[in-house]
């Protein structure tokens, strides 16, 4: 189902929870709503489901405005954050609920439930009650129950929040594959960027009731359109006066810069081709991070964070090193843009 949302607005009392939100989703896509807690993600999802009424704005499914349709008529599946399973019903009855509402015949219900039980790997648990299941199993039941009536849109509110890290990873992959197989348009909410990046076709960053940016995970990483997005996605350090950094002397209008660890290269003089573009720095801290070193290096008044491969020569605290900043995300009150290291570009053209 193609989804279109225009100028959605919602207050809770005096509190402005959702501010002029617009977006559209192509049929069959999986969209991740990503943002800090309290940003309005759940509110947006609930308005799509019809569980909350927007103050203004349009919700259009498949070309038809559905604002006035009750949740019962919207053909959506909703997986609640706490699953909201019917606790006095068995797994079978939970999954069958939506089918009974649709007045399907008993054999048809049995067949469809069986199909979903197998799809979600719940075989053998049909007669258990929710309190007899693990978190991951409950999550699957919630999922199967939502999918059973063949909804046109699947909404998932932090589906993995209550599941421990190891199984979460497994479930993510499973969800991704399952949604692809079923081919249903889906929106899922998360505050975990790894989850969004891994699972979603497209991400919408939601903060303070607004959509900060919408795009593929790669686009958002590469071209963050607001400082908030830049700092929210990936790791970063904020530098107060970027003009002092080598290669960024002419960034006059910029007040501040955001630099990601992967924008920075660090090492001995011999490790750089363009030594002139590098800066001198001192290693302040070394943290072993399993597969690499995380290095805190002091350059002038600022402290930068970067990673260094275990294959390279190990650095030591207090050691003098060369630091190359490939690019920085610059911003001031009005605008933001990405700047490449000027010296590096010049030198490259000189070589050619």
């Amino acid at each position: 189902m193609h989804i279109e949302v225009r100028n959605l607005d919602k207050h809770f009392g005096q509190f402005h929870a959702v501010k002029d939100v617009s977006f559209s989703i192509e049929k069959g896509h999986l969209i991740g709503l990503l943002g800090p807690s309290g940003g309005g993600k759940t509110s947006i999802l609930r308005m799509l489901a019809g569980l909350e009424t927007p103050d203004s704005g349009d919700i259009v499914f498949h070309g038809q405005r559905v604002n006035n349709l009750p949740p019962q008529e919207r053909e959506i599946g909703f997986v609640f954050q706490n699953y909201a399973l019917f606790k006095h019903m068995t797994v079978f009855e939970n999954i069958a609920f939506g089918l009974k509402v649709k007045k399907l015949k008993k054999p048809a219900i049995r067949e469809r439930v069986q199909e979903l039980v197998e799809l979600t790997g719940l075989s053998g648990f049909e007669n258990r009650y929710p309190h007899q299941l693990s978190g991951g199993q409950r999550q699957r039941v919630a999922f199967a129950r939502a999918l059973a009536p063949e909804p046109q849109l699947l909404l998932l509110d932090e589906p993995f929040a209550a599941i421990d890290a190891k199984i979460r990873q497994e479930l993510r992959t499973w969800l991704r594959e399952l949604i692809e197989r079923v081919g249903i348009t889906s929106i899922f909410v998360t505050h975990d960027q790894d989850e969004a990046i891994e699972v979603a076709d497209e991400i919408m960053i939601i903060n303070g009731g607004r959509v900060e940016q919408k795009g593929t995970p790669w686009d958002i990483y590469k071209q963050p359109s607001t400082p908030f997005v830049a700092s929210f996605i990936g790791e970063s350090t904020i530098i107060e006066d970027v003009n002092r950094l080598k290669g960024f002397e002419n960034s006059s209008q910029a007040s501040r810069a955001l630099i990601r660890p992967e924008y920075i290269e660090i090492g001995h003089a011999g490790e750089f081709r363009l030594l002139s573009a590098t800066e001198k720095g001192t290693v302040r801290h070394l943290h072993f991070r399993g597969s690499q070193w995380m290095v805190e290096v002091e350059v002038g008044a600022s402290r930068l964070i970067t990673y260094r491969s275990l294959e390279k020569e190990t650095l030591e605290v207090g050691q003098e090193v060369h630091v190359l900043v490939h690019r920085a995300y610059l911003f001031n009150e009005e605008e933001s843009w990405i700047a490449e290291n000027a010296l590096k570009a010049d030198n490259v053209s000189m070589f050619i």
Partner: protein, 265 residues
Amino acid sequence: MKRLWITLTWLVFSILILIPLVVLATGAFGEGTSGFIKALARPEALHALKMTGLIVLVVTLLNGLFGIMMGIYLVRATWLSRRLRQLFNSIVDLPYAVSPVIGGLMIVLLLGPDTIVGAFFEQIGFKVVYAFPGMVIATLFVTFPLMVREVMPVLQELGTDQEQAASTLGAYSWRTFWQVTWPSIRWAVIYGTILTVARSLGEFGAVLVVSGNIINKTQTATTLVYQDMENFNVTAANGVALVLAVFSIGLLLLMERAKKRKEVH
């Protein structure tokens, strides 16, 4: 130490409940089984027991219906202002604080034949006070908190998540209530019902004031016991009282069993 407490508990328990019950039973059978049967077979006794039975039936049904509805409103009606809900919440507890006699008096003052409302009803041939409807209202007043207070905490804990899930699965409120809400509040409603039955069975003060205690018309089992005592008809009084006591104890035992079953479930 623990033993002492247990013994003490039993002692208090027997002084308060068992001994009166034994006295009641010996009193009722003081003139043999025939005396007991004679006391109960009096027309006024049969009428009073029938009256009590009817009141219990009607009050329990009404209290079930309105109690559940009120509970749902008090927990869920977020569109009402918080002040208003707090006010309703306190009003529900009013019968706990107000003596039943005063409650009955309020009903007489509000709906008695001398008031505008009462006169209006009387004119259309519907007597409220000193008649069955008034007695039902009085008993309802006294028992109203019982159902609401049983149901409310369960509804509070239940929340609305499951119901919202049902609505996204296409179910409208009737089906959602019976298939999702009801199974969760069922036990609370059963307790509430048992408490309501027990309370309306034994209600005296409010009913006495509202009914006028007219023999063979508005007399209930409890007010008959009162009248028999006034007339020094001790055997008869004990007989009717014993019937009420047996019912009440039966209800309490039922409640205990219900609790056990719920735990097993």
